[in-house]
Structures are given as structure tokens and as C-alpha cells.
Assembly symmetry: C2
Homo-oligomer: 223 residues x 2
DNA sequence: TAGATTGTTAATCGATTAACAATC
DNA sequence: TAGATTGTTAATCGATTAACAATC
């Protein structure tokens, strides 16, 4: 039989981590990599706070959402902390990705070190242009979009990355809804919601940050 | 001589708009375009809230940071509201942009309708590869990076977009710090801060949203 | 042990939502 | 006028910061 303490501990294990904290995790990931690259093995919340330009309090609060990764009087072991952050973010889950749309954007992403850094393996690309089919970008071969469903199955793809023209977003999403993929990284600019199909979607609006820049500039000009 | 009421009003005109609101503005911009495209001329905060999946209260609060754009009993005139949002975001300021790095990413962006939609004019590109110099992408001619400073001056560039390899980010930033540009849209992944030089910077970390997607997927897998 | 720094609680701050009077 | 919907104030909620006891 459980006593009250057990129940409290159990609840704490399952408590939802706030979106604000989750959105900061990739930033910790980036800075920890940098600290490792610098050869540091130990870091305190005070040091990290100075580097990242946030409060030490916030860092300790954030990290404690997932467990006590530090040690009083010492700080945080950089490698251990990095390992933990990686675990939380699914780096090392060996996620397999496929890119739909082998245009400039898709090609740029696949050629970049972005995926490798995050432990994501790009196993295939898809396009409709006959001139592209059969070619390779980095390690990923380009297949005809006609073969989408069977190839996603064949390669056991977890994540689909959408870099095609926005007008094909919805029909592609409908096809993807029926597949076994776990998530979509959607760069088309057309918002998708496939939560009903158990597929996580991240809708990226890269232009939004260009607009906030324009806002800042316009504001500075006014002053 | 000013009485107290004047002072209050004046302060209200200048009160800082919260970052949370500013980050939502581009989203209003996108949805209003969509509503215009649909041919609607009038929209209430209730309708808009349903479309955007936020509360009507938030919409009214957000818009009121910038002035009373609506009318009681009627709602908002879509075209007027869109015009106002555009004004706030500097669309129509006729900002002139140049892209440094004519690789796949830079090319993808310049070919996309992103800039035109936001009233930003891409007037030039820069690269170090001799094979690219002199070519054109959309309306933008590619110049040698050696000519950076004089060309930015010549074209009266407001915004520089960085799509070059991260290892050249810092040296490029140092050169840009001495120019007359107003802002940098930085897609290199290396954070910049040129506030001391009066240059607004928007550092984009596109990979961060891929990581939050991986977090969600890893979370779903655990459940 | 003494010093340092975490983990955690409590206080503050800011952002969101609810409610309603103003008004078109 | 009556109905609708804003603009705005007040209440709630969540996130950040400060403080300090726990502990390495």
C-alpha cells in the first residue's frame, strides 16, 4: 500500500514540464556543446547564466524539472548534464528522417550538419521532378514522390521534413496522416495539425522572425 | 503648460509593447492576409479567435496596445486592420535587403515569395565563389564579398541576411558593424549582438524547433 | 570543517483571461 | 432603440526571480 509520500513522488515524476522550459532546452543543448568544445568539464549555474544571459535561478529551476543533475558546492558536470539534456531531447533515439521536396531549401538542410548534430539520420528524400529522382544529396537518395508511402515504411522513417511548395502541403499531409510516422517538421508555411492521427507537428514560420526584425528597425527609425 | 492628463496620454503613447505581443504580430499578419484572400471585409475578435485558436480577449488586448482599430458592435474592418498591422511591422517601409551567402539556403530564400510578401526588396547577394559572382538569383545579382561595404552603400541596404557558413559569421559581423545597415537577419546559428553599433539582430536557430519536435516524439514514445 | 553551490520554497513579476461598462 | 462587440479594468494564472536551507 502506498503512503502519501510515494504518491507525491510519483506525481512529481509525471508532472508536465511547462512549454516555456521545453522551448529553452535546445538552447541549453547548444551552449553545453560549446562548453564541451571549450574543454570545460564543470560548470556552475552562475557561470552558465553569464554565458547565456539568463538568471542562474532560471537555469537551476529549468534543470530541476527533469531531476537533480548538479551537486551542491560543485556545480554541474558538463558531460553528464549534456548526456541528460540529450536524453530528454531524444538525441540518440536514432530518429530516422525523410525530406519531401529536394529543392534549394531541402538540399541546404540535408547538406548542413544540423541533423547529424542532433542524432537524426536523413535516410531519403522525395521529389516530383524526374531530373532529380535517383540523385543523391549527402547520404540521402532522392525517390519519386509516388513511392512515398512504401519508402517511408521500407526505411522506417520517424520524422518527415516538409520543404516542398506550399500548394502541395495539404495533400501531402493527408497521405502522411495514414502512415506510421511519428512527427512532421513543417517548413512550408501552411499550418498542419495531425494530433488526431497521433503525429506531432512542428510548424515553422521562418518569416516571422524577419518581421520582428523589421518591427525593431521601424521602431528604431521612429525614435 | 501640461496638465496631468496630457502627461498620462503621452506616456501611454510611448509605453513599451511587451515582447510576447510583438512575437504574435507576424501571426496576425499571416491570418489577416488569409482572411483578405477569402474575401471577408469584417471580422470580430470572436471569429478571429476561433480561426487562430487563441482567446478573443487576447486579440483585443494585443491590438489595443497599438490603438483602437475596431468598432463596438461591428468588429474590425479587415483591410484597415491589415494596413495597421503592416504599418506596425514596417511592411511598406520599403526595406532593402542583401543576402550574404548565395548557397542553397540563400538561394532558396531569395527565390521564395517571403520577401515580397513583407515588402522587403532583395537588391543584392554576395558570395566568395568566383563561379557564382555575376549570376542572378531572382532579381538579385551576386557580387564578390570583397565589394561588400561599397555595394551596401551603393544599394542603400537596410537589412543584411546571413546565410553563409558559420565559420565566417564573426568576421562578417565585424565588417557589418562598421556599415550603415539597420538590421541583420542571422541564419548562421552563431549568435550575434551588434546593439552597441545600433544594429538590430535577429538570431534564428531553425534547428531548435526540430529539437522540440524530437522532444515531443520521444515523450509520446515513452507514454 | 568551511566554502561553495545546488535544490527548492516563497515572493515578485508579467502575461493571460474574464468581465463588463462604453459605444457603435 | 436593441443588439453586438469593442476597449479596458480587474482577477487569475503562470513564469521568473530571490532567498536560503540542505548538502557536497
Amino acid at each position: 500500500m502506498k503512503d502519501e509520500k510515494d504518491i507525491i513522488i510519483e506525481n512529481e515524476m509525471h508532472h508536465e514540464v511547462s512549454p516555456a522550459v521545453i522551448k529553452r532546452l535546445p538552447r541549453y543543448f547548444r551552449y553545453l556543446r560549446e562548453i564541451i568544445r571549450m574543454g570545460k568539464t564543470r560548470v556552475s549555474s552562475a557561470e552558465l547564466s553569464k554565458m547565456m544571459n539568463v538568471t542562474a535561478s532560471q537555469i537551476r529551476q529549468d534543470l530541476n524539472c527533469f531531476g537533480g543533475f548538479g551537486q551542491q558546492g560543485y556545480g554541474y558536470n558538463v558531460n553528464y548534464l549534456y548526456t541528460k539534456i540529450c536524453e530528454i531531447l531524444g538525441v540518440g533515439c536514432g530518429f530516422r528522417a525523410a525530406v519531401i521536396g529536394a529543392g534549394n531549401l531541402g538540399t541546404a538542410l540535408v547538406k548542413s550538419p544540423m541533423f547529424e548534430k542532433r542524432g537524426v539520420d536523413v535516410v531519403a528524400m522525395f521529389d516530383v521532378a524526374p531530373s532529380l529522382i535517383g540523385k543523391k544529396v549527402a547520404n540521402a537518395k532522392i525517390y519519386s514522390a509516388d513511392e512515398l508511402e512504401e519508402r517511408l515504411e521500407e526505411f522506417a522513417v520517424d520524422i518527415v521534413i516538409l520543404t516542398l511548395d506550399k500548394e502541395y502541403t495539404l495533400e501531402t499531409a493527408q497521405r502522411l496522416a495514414k502512415t506510421n510516422i511519428s512527427g512532421i517538421w513543417n517548413l512550408t508555411g501552411i499550418d498542419l495539425d495531425l494530433s488526431e492521427h497521433g503525429i506531432a507537428v512542428e510548424n515553422v514560420h521562418i518569416g516571422d522572425s524577419l518581421m520582428t526584425l523589421c518591427y525593431e528597425i521601424a521602431l528604431n527609425d521612429k525614435k
